[in-house]
Amino acid sequence: MAKRLGSAADPLWYKDAVIYELHVRAFKDSNADGIGDFPGLIQKMDYLQDLGVTCLWILPFFPSPLRDDGYDISDYLNVHPMYGTIDNFRDFLSAAHDRNLQVMIELVVNHTSDQHPWFQAARRARAGSPERDFYVWSDTEDRFKDARIIFSDTERSNWTWDPVAKQYYWHRFFSHQPDLNYDNPVVVEEVLKIMRYWLDMGVDALRIDAIPYLVEREGSSCENLPETHTVIKTLRREIDAGYSNRILLAEANQWPTDVRPYFGDGDECQMAFHFPLMPRIYMALRQEDRLPITDIIAQTPDIPETCQWGLFLRNHDELTLEMVTSDERDYMYIAYSADPRMRLNLGIRRRLAPLVDNNRRRIELLNSLLLSFPGTPILYYGDEIGMGDNIYLGDRNGVRTPMQWNADRNAGFSVANPARLYSPVIMDPLWGYEAVNVEAQQGDPSSLLNWMRNMIALRKLFSVFGRGSMKFFDPANRKVLAYMRQYQDERVLCVANLSRFAQPVDLDLSEVEGAIPVEMLGYVEFPPIERQPYRLTLAPYSFLWLELQQKSQPTEVSTDFVERVPLNATAGWEGILKGAICQRLETVDFVSYLPKQRWFAGKSRRIKSTRILDWATLQSLHSVLMLLEVSFDTGRSDVYLLPLAMSFAEAAEELQRTSPNAVVASVISGKGSGLLHDAVFDDKTCLELLSVIENGGRLEGRDGRIRGTPGTSFRDILGTASTPLPVRRGSAEQSNTSILYGDRFILKLLRRQEPGLNPDAEIGQYLTDKAHFDRVPPFAGLIEYEPRGDLGSSTMAMLQGLVANEGDGWTWTTEELERYFETCAALPFPESLQDGLEGPLDLSEKPALQLARDHVGIYLDSAITLGCRTAELHLALAAATDDPAFAPEPLTAGDLQTLLVDLQEHASNVLDALKERVPYLPDDVLETAAAVLSRRTRILSYFKALRPDTFQTWRTRVHGDYHLGQVLKVKTDFVILDFEGEPSRPLSARRTKQCPLKDVAGMLRSFSYAAYSSLINYGARRAGDRSSLEPWAKLWERCVATEFLRAYRQTAHGAVFLPEDAEDFRKVLDIFLVDKALYEVLYELNARPGWVRIPLMGIMSLHL
């Protein structure tokens, strides 16, 4: 026989399959003999195709005495005459393959019928002969005593005496089903021949029946033996060597961990049934509790990538309760088989619909689980129309009655005399064929059949169901089962209500924040997922399949794929920045260019449009400085500074290669093809910008003027350096762009433009030129834009002297802490400090601890230096001046009162947010969070308790965003940087005068962060050390803070901004410390919930 191809093109086809299990005998009778047959089945292939199933599992159809419904085979290579001929089977196979349906048949080779010629020959052959050796024989019943009896209702032993052979033969099932002897290689070869016969014909899959029992060994349960796996591997090797896209499915009614070996390392069966899941689905439904399902899934081990579980709600056997505990079995019997006739062996012999009292919602719910759980769903014939059963028929025949096609005689199954049918059709008023049949349901748009067809089609649209991972959610309401399926970029959230009443559920979907759930049946968009718990309400027994889609990008900005026509630049900048080309730049090029820039702050918003506000060419005409207004779909518009240049030839190619994100558009001019790009990447432009400052240059724009101003230190900084200075670009900036000129200057381009003086430039210039404070980078000049009219100027760029340094304070500190923890890890924490340390302010009143110096070492000196420099900065900013922007002002009681109200409101909001997020915090944070929340009243009262009229302090310009990252380590000293304030706040707010202790609080919180974040990082590498090092982290923080505060107070002693009384100092400082820590709490709740403990501990350490 010529070998035929399998029908599946994809080697993993079984993962996406929907399998339909049927018995030829029960499906359709074509020759009026009362028994279904292959020609009848072929007549119904269109129905199966229309239903949407993709693989047909045909129960045994081989010649057989039919004492076990065909699982007692007497000829493996033929078709039982009742069902047709082998040619009929081939026709059926072709008909299935023509419809892209795969076919799975049974490989029942644990045993044969006792009528099989092999057994008849064996019993007649002499003991020890090759023929006898096909089966397992014994002179006594004593062998394999540890093997259980599976059909305990009918069999008393696994051995049966054969009077002809005069020996006992081994059988795990009925006594008329002798087990084959797999220790005989000839048997294995015969099985391979059977397998090849059907695979050569084109069969796509083989279900290996009773797979755990193939081999027997003394002293074992004779189940799942290693030798059995050797046999399976042999079968699999044969398939892999000779065929493509064919599979084996293991029937092993075992626990998942015991079934797992049948997948091997992907070299045994590709599929196996998941037996224990089925009863637990019914249990969960009846108990209205998801636990039975989540428990069994938790016990299900991972399987190889190419393998798959076979899932089912019902099949041709009883609802088996072998894989449940005895209590669970009792419950299931009570819940699902009130009538004892419904029970058989260890199971319940009922179909799906009768099991759930024919409740349509329950049937749909169970099918929704079947179709969305990880595995391949297997439907049992008739369940798609909700067929009933007949418990008055023997064995499992009650669930094997004829398929109900229509309301005609014999349910349209056969035109034979009803008395000839192999089984009576179901006839009662509720389940009878006149009420439940295919034809009626095909004509009813709301029928279960149509529902099933739609659901199957929907499942087939999404690979995630067959191939994706599964993760359960753990909402408080256990009547709701919620899980996420994910495969590549497909994510589906499934939520099912197991209860007969409506249920609410809050799901923590923060991991997919921003995604938009789209209900998959009706393609209905749900509200986007936010960080807060996602609230759903589910109708009784309802389910939701929600595809999680990313927020769609508007089509207007999806221009990455466009190869745009190059801009015609032959008319120079005027030609580009006017008319149609300008319009294209504004509507297309800038819209796609901006989101790719690190400095662009509007990435989370959709750009609606851009508009060139003004531009001016640099003197060489080589480049322009442009102000671009960007409007968004929400919120206010922003203005950005864009220096633009054009490059051609090699320079353009080099730029395209090294910095493609800097390219705005292609251009073409007399110089050939080139690029319009960010001028920062053009050295010539960078030098021109320096020149504008140096020479006080003026550039005329269309609606304003660009003016450069050198600082008084410019010449000193430039010194005798040879020009032009080499240009390089900074790499660490977020919101701005830096250009470095040799070792002399750094030019900071302020990308987001706001009217008014930039505080960094303003304070830098003041400190350099007026206060002569030398612990900041010297101010060297600026470029400003002055619009025509009364509109205020804005700072485009600031030039500073470049300070040689050893890195920023944060990096240096964390490196020091790494060394500190390394040293302390081996030491016991000093007993003298076990009872805790006082607060830093108290400690700063006392002599320095020698112990602290012993361990913290030279960092204490740095803390002292930093305390001094901070105080000196504040003193410089508080010096008397006639400049109103800097002149200190008393912090009046009114100012303080306003401040306290703001801080109190902020505190209240943060504590609310913390309370809301408590259920989602990591375990090690919960206790601290609860402790902080328990202090809510005390925290809020603390703001109220502070009496603004009882002490006096002053407000001055301050740093505004002071922390270790804002200082540079310069040998043994520090230089303070970046006076821009918090970039998210408006410019006017950043320029207001404030209490300098806000900066002090900022630095103290930074010490705390350094200590504990370093501990987290250190502990991540050495998990055991984290808890033992926590006291050391606290010690470091306290000691460093103490020395910083001591130095600060000593240096600033007598300053107007410093409350004279130590208690007043503490109160004001604590206010800012609480506020800063609460700010950090909010930040960490949103960004890193695992780190929120750091600021929470900071709050707890305060004596409020």
């Binding site: 070998k3 493509s244 998959m520």
Partner: protein, 422 residues
Amino acid sequence: MQEPTRDANVEADPGLQLTDPTADQIGSADLVVGILAESDSNAIEKVCDALRRLPGPLRIAVLHDDQQQGPATANSEATQEHAFVFHVPSLLAKRDAPVTGILSVSETYQSVFSAAEKLQARGCCIIASKLEVATTPWAWRIAQPLFESQADLVLPHYARRKFEGLLNASIIAPMMRALYGKRVNNPMGPDFGVSQRLFEKMLAAKAGGNQFNSMASLTPTALCQNLQIIEVHFGSRIYPATDWSNMSSALADVLTPVFVDMERNAPCWQRTRVSVPVRVIGEPLLLDQDSTAVDTRPMLESFQLGNRELQEIWSLVLPPATLFELRKLSRLSVEQFRMPDELWVRIVYDFALAHRLRTISRDHLLRSMTPLYLGWVASYAHDLTVAGAMSPERRLEGLSLAYEAGKSYLVSRWRWPDRFNP
């Protein structure tokens, strides 16, 4: 013994194959160009001249049906500057087909792919437009991106006048844009450039299933496989005159493969949410728009007639709200008649769904769409002829957006085709 793989098992009609002796004679080619339209020697030679402009060294086999051209010849070897072009006549010879007497368009495409595979070509081009209407630069324009930009599919973007190619502009192009998320103007060509990767997929797909139309499926296949598509401005294409009085066959012929592909590719297009432009090469050519008006009266008479006679069929396909709208439209005068794009889009989508569900005979179904299509054409014509009318491009862009906006309607109907709907 290992069974043959599916790919190796591909067998197209032997009558369409490059015979082995001819393949041996030719050896291999980098590019295969199939000229599908009947053409004379001069026209073919012009195409070859254009192809020689491609930078070498390339071996280009030009397949055509002109017996006068003689066997494969070599006029020079390929150089660094120029491609080497040789003729392979008669390879697309018509087989004896007692029923139709001609090869179907799809089969002809497939034969070019088969020839390209046999010659181990890196790409192939199909010039299906009649050479009298195609300009000679088309040949190298469509070939060039295959080699220089590693395109998998090069699609034409023809300049068109407002009533030319309307079946494409009103249904196929905007619907494919909405479905597959790429803005292509002529997804069904008929002139194409195809990479080796894509033509191999087409050959495999053809072998793997029936109802596969190569011309209609090229673009959806490339889109679903996420292959690179480049659109090339071709300039003007002369369209055959439209017989508005006999649109039924055209509708059925064109929409059948499109709807079949929709069914096949449902898992792909239901993932796509927004459309983006594809890479475009060249500059658009602006044509002087034809100022002559189209007589919409017979179209609207057909619409009215359909509304009276086809209610029974339409009611199986269209939901009540649409039928209600159509009834209201049928009462309007010629001057007042406007079919909103949203309505038209829903009609198209509902017909696509009915085609999938086999609600009625598919051919019958598509033919019954004719009066509705003519109603939309009449509406379009009115929109473009009123004073201050918008340009055809803007008008059709609006239609495309309506297709995109209506996609969620299609998806929901497709997934849950309950007839009890608004």
